[in-house]
């Protein structure tokens, strides 16, 4: 039991940030959360505003809306001139500025309303930092809004998995007997549809769309939690402190809530981080297959699928959403690894 003192907060926290990979994970997740929370500020344009003259415009290119209409120009950056560079269209230079006014937006259900954007180009041109898609929509802006979609998919799916899987695992492991048998057989059945297949089955049954995808991916994560939690409950059930609590006259629900769940928490936390990565990948996969979000939703998987048709001529349309998905999934995987190393009482030295 001496090991208990080793997991005191400072040591724990120090361990969490100890490796470079862990730090990279925190940076990626921090960035993702920030972009998701403030998508309209970070995005220079509305994610659905089309510009049919700008279809498949490559990255870094700007297009003038007035004067020589539809003329294209490239973003350049000369040292000691403008900090963010400028877009050159013909002879005219349009500097990229911080905090510009642009498309009006409302966010968080209308609590936040403004027309301010983190960066953008003033005046009569539109600039596409990551290029434009098949309808001339700004890919960068769509990615920013897509971050919010991915985050909500991840949170809701993991929430469903936690909310149903953990109680199921705790009760099944603690009660044992026939109840355990029934729950485990159910879990077996769910696990017989490997990975994304269960989500596909659910979506095929109840229809596509973002809400159904969230629920389907959430249900698909339930068995993982149920299995994991049951395992740790089984190892805790016969420990002295549980018996002591029983001897003190506490009922089963109280024992589960006060002794079993808190002690089974660290694998659940680790699993949740990994599961976020899986949920985001699953949802993107469904979007890619055409079984997830519906157009014009700026969902990353769907964006990637649209880019597929013009892969040879406009590879950027598929490239950037893929990079975004990978960065976020990598972040959650790194975070999960770091949490595991930090929370594992056996601890690698």
């Amino acid at each position: 039991m001496a090991a208990k003192t080793n997991t005191s907060p400072p040591r724990w926290r120090k361990k969490l940030f100890s490796s470079w990979l862990a730090r990279l994970g925190f940076v990626l997740i921090g960035l993702f959360l920030f972009v998701a929370a403030f998508a309209p500020i970070i995005a220079p344009y509305d994610p659905n505003s089309q510009n049919l003259r700008a279809t498949y415009v490559p990255p870094f290119v700007g297009m003038s809306l007035t004067g020589p209409e539809g003329q294209l120009g490239l973003w350049v950056r000369e040292i000691n001139r403008t900090p963010l560079g400028e877009v050159m269209i013909g002879e005219t230079q349009y500097p990229v500025k911080l905090f510009v006014r642009g498309d009006a937006w409302s966010w968080w259900g209308g609590i936040l309303r403004s027309d301010f954007h983190l960066f953008g180009v003033d005046g009569a041109i539109k600039w596409y930092p990551f290029g434009a898609d098949e309808q001339g929509r700004d890919i960068f802006s769509r990615l920013a809004y897509g971050a919010w979609i991915s985050l909500s998919i991840g949170l809701i799916a993991v929430g469903i998995g936690l909310g149903v899987g953990v109680p199921l695992g705790v009760v099944s492991g603690y009660a044992g007997g026939r109840l355990d048998l029934v729950v485990q057989r159910l879990v077996d059945i769910m696990l017989s549809f490997p990975g994304i297949l269960l989500a596909i089955v659910l979506v095929a049954t109840f229809g596509t769309g973002l809400t159904n995808v969230m629920i389907a991916v959430g249900i698909a994560t339930i068995p993982n939690y149920a299995r994991l939690v049951r395992g740790s409950v089984l190892s805790l059930r016969d420990r002295e402190f549980v018996e002591a609590s029983k001897a003190l006259g506490n009922n089963d629900w109280r024992i589960m809530a006060q002794h079993i769940v808190p002690n089974a928490l660290s694998p659940i936390i680790v699993q949740s981080s990994l599961q976020m990565a899986i949920a985001i990948l699953f949802a993107a996969g469904l979007g890619f297959l055409g079984l997830g979000a519906r157009p014009p939703e700026p969902e990353w998987g769907l964006m990637l699928a649209r880019g597929r048709e013009y892969l040879a001529t406009a590879p950027h349309v598929a490239t950037f959403p893929g990079l975004a998905i990978m960065a976020v999934a990598l972040g959650f995987n790194l975070l999960g690894d770091a949490l595991r190393d930090a929370l594992d009482p056996r601890g690698k030295s």
Partner: protein, 359 residues
């Protein structure tokens, strides 16, 4: 401990004759011996049990598969009936005439109680009848038999890729833990796990098929058609295998018998491969088994990316065309294949690791 105390109490404090004391002590000793022999005989009995009753184990493991399979059947059966809309119309397809719908309704007993429907479904299934595809106008069983072998080939090829990349990478990392090689390999493995299969597939097509022209863009038939899909599908598994191999290898290499082998003066290579790797591979084999299921799942997406005619493409095409008989059939086949693979791995377990006991 208690026995010793009792013995002292007996010999010192009680007013018993010497013979009585000896008798009691003997009795206690005999008790001790019988208890020990009993325990060891139990161990022998146990190992005998596990050897002779492997067949019992197999039978029991097969029995646990049955409720799972029934559950899977139930889920697939329920899919069409839970979907919004009339199941007969769903099974008949979008452009069906009222007559076809009527025929379908009678054929699957859709106007009868659910239990009758289930019975009919199961008896049809037992005869290999999975219904008729609405988009392809042919029996589902025939479609699956043409598509599924392709998926098996792709899955096995992907597993080969995963083994050839994952295990060497894991060994190299484990031999130089904490170095830049290890860090890069493990970061690579994490990226491999985090990378969306479909994105990697598209990028591979873009680079190797469109730009370099080394491989065909899509389709099947030659080895060339298999290379990119197999690499795309196998990479995620390779990453998982690399991580497992590394941690397993690190654990094995830190054990006493490795130190003994080194102390004995064996060559480093012999120690690492003959003593280390062979033991480290046991958990890897388990994961290989589990990953076959993961590959089946990944095949659904990979096949769509490469337009590879496998069961995954059949399934996704079926969903998009609202071809429910095809969807039911392919879901059923993938799930049953997955159950079967897990069963085989479980049964092979004991052969790979003699320490594992069946009970």
């Amino acid at each position: 401990m208690r026995r010793v105390i009792v013995r002292i109490v007996l010999t010192k404090n009680l007013n018993l004759s010497q013979t009585q004391k000896i008798k009691i002590i003997l009795k206690l000793e005999i008790n001790k011996i019988t208890r020990e022999t009993f325990q060891s005989s139990k161990l022998i009995a146990h190992s005998l049990y596990t050897r002779t009753h492997l067949t019992t184990y197999i039978a029991r493991r097969l029995l646990t598969v049955i409720p799972t399979m029934l559950g899977v059947l139930l889920v697939v059966f329920a899919m069409v009936r839970l979907a919004p809309g009339d199941p007969a119309e769903l099974l008949a397809g979008e452009f069906a005439t009222p007559e076809t719908i009527k025929i379908i309704r009678e054929r699957f007993g859709l106007d009868q109680p659910v239990l009758t429907q289930l019975g009919l479904y199961l008896s049809n299934l037992a005869q290999g009848d999975l219904g008729e595809s609405t988009s392809k106008r042919s029996p589902v069983t025939k479609e699956i038999l043409t598509y599924f072998p392709n998926t098996l080939v792709l899955t096995i090829a992907a597993m080969l890729v995963a083994l050839l990349i994952g295990i060497p990478a894991g060994i190299i990392s484990a031999l130089r833990p904490g170095t830049i090689v290890d860090l890069l390999a493990m970061l690579g493995a994490l990226i491999g796990v985090s990378m969306p299969v479909f994105w990697f597939g598209l990028m591979a097509i873009l680079l190797f098929s469109v730009q370099l022209g080394w491989f065909p863009v899509a389709g099947t038939g030659t080895i060339g058609h298999l290379v990119l899909p197999a690499i795309t599908l196998g990479l995620g598994t390779a990453s998982i295998l690399a991580r497992i191999t590394r941690s397993s290898m690190l654990e094995v290499l830190s054990q006493d018998f490795i130190r003994s082998a080194r102390a004995k003066g064996l060559a480093g290579r012999t120690v690492i491969f003959k003593h280390g790797l062979r033991n480290a591979l046991i958990p890897v084999v388990t994961v290989v088994g589990l990953q076959f299921g993961g590959l089946l799942e990944g095949a659904v997406i990979t096949e769509t990316v490469f337009a590879y005619p496998g069961i995954g493409q059949l399934l996704v095409g079926g969903i998009l065309a609202r071809d429910y008989p095809i969807v039911q059939g392919s879901v059923l086949v993938i799930a049953l294949a997955f159950i079967l693979i897990n069963l085989i791995i479980d049964l092979l377990y004991g052969t790979i690791d003699p320490r594992i006991r069946y009970d």
